[in-house]
């Protein structure tokens, strides 16, 4: 229920020359679930702590619904942060942990008990109130941390790497729980992660931060289809890049002349195509078809990686194992790069 606006936010830690965060601006609309994505040490957690009021920015401003909150103490901002390692208070049981925020607000004990019980049911841990945090599994601890945050009905919820400490099978369960609760309560939620999969799976929108600066911000699929530069493309698993020139509709490079989708500016650039979008053994009459030589094939389990050589350029393709069963190293194959799967990065 709060629109968060981050304006030119910069943090330089004392004794350090490089800023941990360098002029980050971001608009996070009410009720959206936004991921701050970036490698570790890129300033994500610093940003969260500044939003929560746990750290003062060096410069810049943070607005909630158009009002600066920098002078507000953390306990009055209505922002709750859930840390990566959950940080359940070890000297309190589960129920006391969940009820902590209400106790600080001097809510009567009876009401606290009641709401704690409700909250624990909501996170599907109805009978664990008496347990000590150390007796819980990682997934349970995270649910308790989430319950402890949500019970105070924050305006903004901050989650630090919410899925990274969990096993693969727990991740989807937790994703559904977080998304479900977030949408039900309509809380503006920001989470940070270094894992692009976690960001894509959970968030409405993703903000990619590299070297303390915002690289790109938008819905997750844009990062795959329209990355702004090579670093962004690589962060999302892009591997194929070919330098050349675009005239607006055709790209000339070592790969020959390839037809481009609409919306590409003319000029020099780098053509990129995702490995999974390269079609192998395509018919001769498909658009953008090329002759390639197979240099290596690697069985990856559910997929097969096929390394290709086209003239002087190398391309990696990922295919369904069945489709490339009878292709071996040294074979010459016809591949196709559908125009809709191509994108040109400015250099």
């Amino acid at each position: 229920m709060t629109h968060v606006s981050i304006r030119e936010l910069t943090k330089v830690y004392p004794g350090s020359a490089d800023p941990a965060l360098d002029g980050l601006s971001l608009e996070i609309p009410t009720g959206e679930l936004t991921a701050l994505l970036g490698p570790s040490g890129c300033g994500k957690t610093t940003t969260m702590k500044m939003i929560a009021g746990l750290l003062a920015p060096t410069s810049g401003d943070i607005h909630f619904d158009g009002r600066s909150v920098l002078s507000e103490k953390p306990e009055h901002r209505g922002v709750v942060m859930v840390f990566q390692n959950y940080l359940l208070f070890p000297h309190m049981n589960v129920a006391d942990n969940v009820g902590f925020g209400l106790k600080m607000r001097k809510v009567p004990k009876q009401e606290i008990d009641h709401r704690v019980k409700e909250m624990l049911e909501l996170v599907k841990l109805p009978d664990l109130g008496d347990r000590q945090p150390s007796a819980l599994s990682g997934g349970q601890q995270q649910r308790v941390a989430l319950a402890r945050a949500l019970i105070v009905q924050p305006n903004v919820l901050l989650l630090d790497e919410p899925l990274s400490n969990l096993d693969a099978h727990l991740r989807f369960e937790m994703r559904d729980l977080i998304r479900g609760l977030q949408q039900e309560m309509g809380i503006t939620t920001i989470f940070v992660t270094h894992d692009q999969e976690e960001a894509v799976v959970l968030a409405d929108k993703v903000a990619l931060i590299l070297d303390g600066r915002l690289k790109q911000y938008g819905p997750a699929d844009v990062f795959y289809k329209r990355p702004v530069d090579e670093a962004t493309a690589r962060f999302f698993g892009g591997q194929n890049f070919a330098s050349g020139t675009s005239d607006g509709s055709v790209f000339k490079s070592g790969l020959g002349q390839l037809k481009l989708p609409d919306g590409v500016n003319p000029g020099p650039g780098k053509l990129t195509v995702r490995p999974e979008n390269i079609r192998i053994n395509a018919g001769e009459n498909m658009q953008n078809s090329l002759q390639a030589v197979v240099t290596e094939r690697v069985f990856l389990g559910t997929q097969t990686l096929v390394k290709l050589q086209v003239g002087n350029e190398k391309l990696d393709a990922i295919a369904n194992p069945n489709e490339v069963e009878n292709i071996s190293v040294g074979d010459s194959v016809t591949i196709s790069l559908p125009p809709s799967s191509l994108w040109v990065l400015s250099t």
């Binding site: 702590k49 746990l54 103490k73 306990e75 709750v80 208070f89 902590f100 925020g101 105070v152």
Partner: protein, 285 residues
């Protein structure tokens, strides 16, 4: 070699030294306090030494004084130590120098601290001279008695001087290994600074404070040289009284000294008991 035998062999030298010297010394003291020493012909234990001790007014005054010294010193030191640790845990310019100065007196023996206190707080000491300089007092005897005084203020000041860094270093390390994130969580859940301190930080550092306090209490209850330098002549701190009885020309006073030593030992045993019980309960929960 079986593990059991190996463990026994590894522990044997240490346990025999501690067993013979420490527990042997304690046992002999206990026997002599009951006037029981078969080697020198005392074969009939009795309670005369304890009766003499427990019916003596001097003993009670000494006991109360010593308890007052230990209790007051421990409580004040613990509180100031927590405060100091809160001050020193932040990063600031010159922190390593300040930390060094904070730890400096850890290695200075209590005896030196006691002499320093004497030169600071005696009626002709530095503070009395300052008082004279500012025309607050005219002659040394105008300065309040802070050493050799009945309330043991000088002794307590010395212990506070020495034990604040001791407890402080332990608490500081405790705080640093906890980090500030627990308090950050509390703040973001709506706790004020003070609430985060009382409800989160204090309970988390309490075990460390308690164990350090117990060491300090037992030490201040049983130390000899500090009250010997800074204490009043009557009543004396219990360890000073025990030593005086033990070295009395009248050998008959020795069992009484032993009885007092046993009282000191019993009180420390009680401290150990509470300590172990508390720690076990924490580990279980």
């Amino acid at each position: 070699m079986s593990d059991r035998l190996k463990i026994a062999l590894l522990l044997a030298p240490a346990l025999s030294i501690i067993g013979v010297l420490f527990f042997g010394g304690l046992l002999i003291g206990l026997m002599r306090s009951f006037n029981y020493m078969p080697v020198i012909g005392l074969t009939e234990p009795d309670l005369s030494a304890y009766i003499a001790v427990f019916t003596s007014r001097e003993f009670y005054l000494s006991f109360l004084l010593t308890f007052h010294i230990a209790f007051t010193s421990t409580v004040i030191s613990s509180i100031l130590a927590i405060g100091s640790a809160l001050l020193l845990r932040r990063t600031f310019v010159g922190r390593s120098l300040i930390n060094f100065l904070f730890q400096l007196n850890l290695t200075v023996p209590h005896l030196v601290g006691a002499i320093g206190m004497l030169y600071l707080f005696s009626q002709s000491g530095s503070f009395a001279r300052l008082g004279a300089e500012w025309n607050l007092i005219a002659k040394p005897s105008d300065f309040p008695a802070l050493v050799f005084d009945p309330y043991a203020i000088g002794i307590i000041l010395q212990y506070i001087w020495k034990e604040v860094p001791f407890i402080g270093v332990i608490v500081l390390a405790n705080m640093q290994s906890l980090g500030e994130d627990y308090e950050s969580v509390a703040r973001s859940l709506g706790a004020s600074k003070w609430q985060a301190f009382i409800h989160v930080l204090m309970p988390l550092i309490f075990p460390g404070v308690l164990s350090a306090s117990i060491i300090v209490f037992a030490f201040t209850f049983g130390a000899y040289e500090i009250p010997a330098i800074l204490g009043a002549s009557y009543p004396k701190a219990l360890p000073v009284l025990a030593y005086q009885k033990y070295t009395d020309v009248d050998l008959a006073a020795r069992p009484e000294a032993m009885a007092m030593a046993i009282v000191i030992a019993a009180l420390s045993a009680l401290m150990i008991y509470f300590y172990v019980r508390y720690m076990r309960r924490r580990i279980r929960s």
